[in-house]
Amino acid sequence: MSGVRRQREPYTGGAEAMAYVRDEIVPALVAAFGDGVVPLETPFEMPQVQVAPGQLAAVARWLKDRGFNMLVDVGGVDYLPRKPRFEVVYHLLALPQLWRLRLRVPVEEDEAEVPTVSDVWPSAAAAEREVWDLFGIRFAGHPNLTRILMPDDWVGHPLRKDYPLQGPRAQLPAHAAERNRYHAPKLPGDPPGTAGLPGGAKGGK
Amino acid sequence: MDTVGLVLVRSVILAVALASLFAGMTVIERKVLGYFHLRLGPTRTGPWGLLQPLADAIKAIVKEDIIPRDADRLVFRLAPIISVFTALAAWSVIPVGPPVEVGGVTVPLAVADPPGGVLVAVAFTALSVYGVTLAGWSSQSKYALLGSLRASAQLISYELALGLSLLGVLMMAGSLRLTEIVAAQERLPFILLQPLGFVVYFIAALAESARVPFDLPEAETELVSGYHTEYSGMRFAMFMMAEYIHMITASTLVTLLYLGGWNGPAFLPPVAWFLVKLGFMLFVFIWLRATMVRLRYDRLMDLGWKVLLPLAILNLVATAVITVFVA
């Protein structure tokens, strides 16, 4: 054993830290940015605020300076048919302090664009590419906003709610269904008195 | 008297014996390595899986032979032949036992036993680098190219240490003829007189035959398969054959030069002693493969030039001094 190893005291006390964020940091954030930032109710301990897209870059800097040094995640949500349709959700973490904060940035469908935060937290670069790939939300100022998970020549953004689950295959004619017999509807000549639903369809939900 | 006919007969016997030894070696390695790995290795092909190499060989022969579009076709075909030829040729001077009397004729147990036997063997081993280099270069694939570059650099840098550590033995034996070197170890094997030289020689030989932990030229996880990435079927099998014969050659040379060859207590015939020692060396090779991890390329070079070479020179000087003053 090469004596460099030691069991250091781990960080503990996340719950109190989140209460601190709720009671101290969020009010300070709201005070600093006015109506650009709206605190939302926090049903499950993690504090969350709604940030206007125009303010996001400034809010990100402000939070980074206050100690939120890790951007845990960037994800999109499609709230079709709500308006504004999309939401980009940022989860932040401050490491020694164990603060957590969620930023929710509503995005309109027509101008689906949010400023990038990859210059504040480098980890955002890849995650923002993923949001662009799957939701079609652009990130202004991103150094390399290209598709990341889907092939480069893919059409459409799969995680949008109006994108069919089967993708382009959903429009394919019946020969595909022929091969995947278990997805084919019931055939004529099936016995009378059957009350079953077409195979595979989770009807009635 | 040695006649041309006898030499030819011995050559054929040697070629056949080596080919079967290579085949046997593959299955033995797979089985022994398997046992090291807590598993059994080939068991189903023939009794105890002994026919496995036969199946592998036949399969390789009937396999489609692919030559990449951009490859240099002539060189691409030539490279495995060079490899196998040099590997086999090294054996032309290696004796496996003392000369025997057959029908009144004294027959050496080698194809030839020239006065410069050691040099010939070492030279042919070193020549194998051409096969490897040409294979990587002609494949026109980046992985193969990197693999062959590594191989040639590795072989060249370890050749020096190998040769220098060998000189100690040659000085003590006072001969370049392998039978005489063995004869000089009748009382004490050179491993006891030349421990440092043995260690250097053994590591260098390991590196020369590109075995773990020196298997960089074909480091699977980095270079896919190294220099023979683009080779398939029989040509690939030829590279494997060359590699295994190199391993056998290296073990044989260690046996002959340091372990006393076929010398040993009389309850076993000389050839059996030779085979026992050879088998032990081969086992050590496999054992190392089961234990070691792969060196990094730059460390390999460091080890060759900065550690082994000075040690070999030190060994050489020390041997020279001792030989001069004691004798």
Partner: protein, 196 residues
């Protein structure tokens, strides 16, 4: 450094002589756990009636949509199952199936059961769509449902206490593989299993 090397070499050398855990596969097969989720089967009651009543719950529960059930009315003279309906057509696409066991949980009569059979590979996709002919347990099947498949389903009793009361259902399931005895009336257990 030499000591470390020797330690490593010694460890591997010891491995050389350790007992090998290898299974000589086609001759010796690994003992599968009682809960192993392998090929499906549709079980029968002791009297030969199928336990499946064609309720299609398995089809709905399957996340991979691998199951197709088409029920039909039972002929009252020669019923196939104790219920009103039976599975006229029952297909499982073994290649779609992910062997998650949700169908087994969904089956209200415990007709569908995942056996311990895992050797299913075949040459065509079509041959791996299992129909009733291969799913309904034939009486020659050696499979016996082990008792601890449902030692306590869903924790309604403290575990590891002697079974009582509702053990009959498990018993009946366990004997589902028993030989078909034609002409025998439905047993009480089968009656009880009718859902409505």
């Amino acid at each position: 450094m030499l000591k470390a090397l020797a330690k490593g070499m010694g460890t591997t050398l010891r491995m050389l002589f350790r007992r090998k855990p290898t299974i000589a596969y086609p001759y010796v097969k690994k003992e599968r756990s009682a809960r192993f989720r392998g090929r499906h089967e549709l079980r029968r009651y002791e009297n030969g009636l199928e336990m499946c009543i064609g309720c299609e719950l398995c089809q709905v529960a399957c996340p991979a949509a691998a199951i197709t059930v088409m029920p039909a009315e039972n002929d009252p003279e020669r019923p196939n199952s104790p219920g009103e309906r039976y599975a006229w057509k029952y297909e499982i696409d073994m290649l779609r199936c992910i062997f998650c066991g949700l169908c087994e949980e969904a089956c209200p009569t415990e007709a569908l059961h995942l056996t311990r059979e895992f050797e299913l590979a075949d040459f065509t996709r079509e041959s791996l769509i299992y129909g009733r002919d291969r799913l309904v347990n034939q009486h020659t099947s050696p499979f016996q449902v082990p008792r601890n498949v449902y030692p306590d389903y869903r924790g309604w009793r403290p575990v590891h206490e002697p079974e009582e009361g509702h053990g009959e259902a498990v018993e009946a399931a366990g004997e589902g593989a028993a030989p078909e005895v034609p002409g025998v009336d439905r047993t009480a257990g089968a009656e009880e299993a009718r859902p409505a």
